[in-house]
């Protein structure tokens, strides 16, 4: 190859510069994530005897819910409470989580908490933890392993219970309005089909639906847990069905979309409107919408798993046995409550 033509060399320079910029950009991004726990590692290794050392592998920080969950663990496992927390953000990758758990084992932590991204592929690393004698507590999502004894227990939400509470709330609400014998026409905006939350909430609500003879489920469509899709599907429901009494939205975002669609169609919703809206998750934004009287009730999906996990660890410390499956306490909110106070205290 002969010498590079002048022009090409210039171009090459630009390309290199662009690449350099890109690389430095990447470096900056990684820093706060991975750089954070290097000093913790040493502390854990030297062993601060009076503290209970806990390693926590979180999925990432993709939603308000997740951030609320991280916050809950961070504020529970503090030095004042007698804990030493090693936090690891897996950035949505299972391999990072496996690495994190192995690190925890090497650092000889007392307990490992994992919120597993996917259900499979955990046998080997959980076995390693068990062999090292470190109890593993699963939070939020669960795992599928051949030997259930590989982990100590699972803590999380009962989506089915959430769905059932929604149905029961609706029954009470209709009774109060004297509509218990009327035909009630319901549509559901489902979450991403096949997700745990979608299956549980649909099933839970379905159980109440079965008991109520005069409730009619007109249609169920997936809105993919997003506002835009929820709105699109709701617009179509409104065109296909002349009268809709209840919209069950399997998360807050789809509820926001549904409200937009309903307003566009010149209909009203909420406690003072013609359409009853039920939503799940109960993030701060949904509570504010509840305060604006656009939603009738929201059913919490509690991200505050920290205190319950802490309770379990205390029990294990005392040598007591714990239940394999533990549900976190979840509540609901409707417009009869003192919402301003609740919103004030809401962190997510």
């Amino acid at each position: 190859m002969g010498p590079m033509p002048r022009m090409d060399r210039k171009k090459m320079g630009w390309l290199l510069l662009a690449l350099l910029l890109l690389l430095t950009g990447c470096g900056k991004r990684e820093e706060p994530v991975t750089g954070g726990h290097a000093p913790y590692v040493e502390d854990a290794a030297t062993g601060k005897g009076e503290y209970i050392v806990v390693g926590f592998s979180q999925i990432g920080s993709e939603s308000d819910w997740r951030i609320g969950s991280t916050e809950s663990f961070r504020s529970t496992f503090t030095a004042e409470n007698g804990y030493y927390l090693i936090y690891d953000d897996a950035q949505q990758k299972q391999e990072n989580q496996l690495k994190a758990v192995r690190n925890f084992i090497l650092q000889k932590v007392d307990y490992i908490i994992v919120d597993p991204i996917v259900e499979t592929g955990w046998d080997a690393v959980l076995k390693e933890a068990k062999d090292a004698g470190i109890p593993v507590i699963l939070a939020d999502r669960s795992v599928k392993v051949e030997d259930e004894e590989l982990y100590t227990c699972w803590v999380g939400s009962s989506f089915e219970q959430e769905g059932r509470s929604a149905g029961e709330w609706l029954r009470e609400y209709l009774k109060k309005q004297g509509r218990e014998d009327e035909e009630i026409r319901i549509v559901t905006l489902q979450g991403t089909l096949g997700s745990t939350a979608q299956i549980g909430r649909t099933e839970g609500f379905g159980k109440v639906l079965e008991q109520e003879k005069n409730w009619v489920m007109l249609d169920q469509q997936s809105g993919d847990f997003t506002q835009a899709k929820g709105q699109e599907v709701m617009e179509e429901f409104l065109k296909n069905y002349d009268r809709i009494d209840v919209v069950v939205c399997e998360n807050d975002n789809m509820a926001f979309g549904a409200i937009e669609a309903i307003k566009k169609a010149d209909k009203t919703c909420g406690p003072d409107g013609e359409i009853i809206i039920l939503s799940f998750d109960a993030g701060r934004a949904a509570l504010e919408t509840l305060l604006d009287k656009d939603i009738n009730a929201v059913f919490e999906c509690n991200p505050k798993l920290g205190p319950l996990v802490s309770e379990i660890i205390r029990k294990l410390e005392r040598g007591e046995s714990v239940e394999k499956i533990q549900y976190v306490e979840e509540v609901y909110f409707d417009s009869t409550m003192d919402l301003e106070q609740i919103i004030e205290e809401r962190t997510y």
């Binding site: 939603s63 065109k239 307003k263 566009k264």
Partner: protein, 355 residues
């Protein structure tokens, strides 16, 4: 007969025909289910604004239409596609909402900066991304697919970074305007119409359209003929980025938030599909902007039709694929040639019988 031939011979005949065919399905469905035959096409005024499925098609198809304008130019000039438009949409939306809400704020009712700053920010971000792609393709001769792959994967992440990994809500009436209503018309329709008009006039009144086609057909020959080929390609990518910025603004205004992970998801595919459905060759060169626009609305018409037929949203892509295959087949040159042969054969038989 001759008149019919003249109409069917027009380049836009097939795209329009396909769109009408999709809509005709609804008439059949409405009649068979005992509704008013033109139920699908009814437009009424509710709440002081236009309401109906046709309006939905125009309204919801706006983003893809705006993207299709830019994509058509890019395809024509560089014989490649810009696969980053969906991600750039999301980045522009995130940047806009970040400016309007302030950095690190997850929900704002009041704007942190005047609305125009956010709007210009979104458009500027689109232009920067477009210029980046254009620079790589036009001046560094990187293959379009590879060059735009960079922002395809990076833009969403940058958007998340700008928004501090949050979904930023901007609950302000003035911001909701772009996804809301201008008088009785949905604003996205107006924005799409303005974009079409500006680019259409630009292509018609200046020689730009001709230059783009010429560069697309033969880049080197065009340069020898005195055209600055690289600059024209750069310009096309810039316009494509600009279009993505505008589309991102509309999409985020619709949901009054910047949902980085979902805004514009898979829109690049719809935009490319729109260009193809419009009867344009993805191999570059000659192009027909009107065709792409009709293609974009056809895609939305298919989606809305499937909703109206009650097909579940999870299964809809399968039916969409089948319809797309049919449309593309109808427009494929071998199929057209076959129809022509059949016609000629029939004419010959007729002639033979007469003799």
């Amino acid at each position: 007969m001759n008149k019919l031939k003249k109409i069917t011979g027009k380049p836009l005949f097939l795209p329009i025909f396909c769109m009408l065919l999709v809509m005709a399905v609804n008439i059949v469905y409405d009649v068979s289910s005992g509704n008013f035959a033109f139920n699908f096409f009814t437009i009424s005024v509710r709440n002081g604004v236009l309401y109906g499925r046709l309006i939905d098609i125009l309204n919801r198809g706006s983003e893809v239409t705006i993207l299709a304008i830019g994509m058509t130019l890019v395809v024509s000039a560089s014989a490649g596609t810009d696969i980053s438009v969906g991600s750039v949409m999301s980045l522009a939306a995130s940047f806009c909402c970040m400016l309007l809400a302030g950095y690190g704020v997850s929900a704002a009712n009041d704007l942190a900066v005047p609305l125009i700053v956010g709007v210009l920010g979104a458009i500027l971000m689109g232009c920067i991304c477009g210029a980046f792609n254009g620079f790589l393709v036009a001046y560094l001769n990187v293959q379009p697919m590879v060059a735009t792959l960079i922002l395809f994967s990076a833009a969403r992440a940058i958007g998340l970074l700008l928004c501090n990994n949050l979904i930023v809500y901007v609950r302000n009436e003035s911001f909701q305007f772009f996804g809301g209503y201008l008088g009785f018309l949905p604003t996205p329709i107006v924005i799409a119409a303005v974009c079409i008009a500006i680019v259409g006039i630009l292509l018609k009144k200046t020689a730009l359209g001709l230059y783009i086609q010429s560069v697309g057909i033969n880049k080197r020959a065009s340069r020898i003929a005195g055209l600055n080929s690289a600059r024209i390609i750069f310009l096309c990518y810039l316009v494509c980025g600009l279009a993505a910025g505008i589309a991102g603004l509309v999409a985020s205004s619709r949901i009054s938030s910047a949902d980085s992970n979902n805004i514009g998801l898979n829109y690049e595919l719809d935009a490319i599909l729109a260009v193809a459905l419009g009867g344009n060759s993805l191999g570059g060169g000659k192009f027909n902007l009107a065709g792409s626009i009709i293609g974009a609305y056809t895609i939305q018409a298919i989606s809305i039709t499937l909703y109206a037929l009650g097909v579940s949203t999870e299964q809809a892509p399968v039916y969409k694929a089948i319809i797309v295959i049919l449309i593309v087949t109808i427009q494929a040159p071998p199929f057209k040639a076959w129809i022509k042969r059949m016609n000629a054969k029939r004419a010959l038989e007729k002639g033979g019988a007469a003799a």
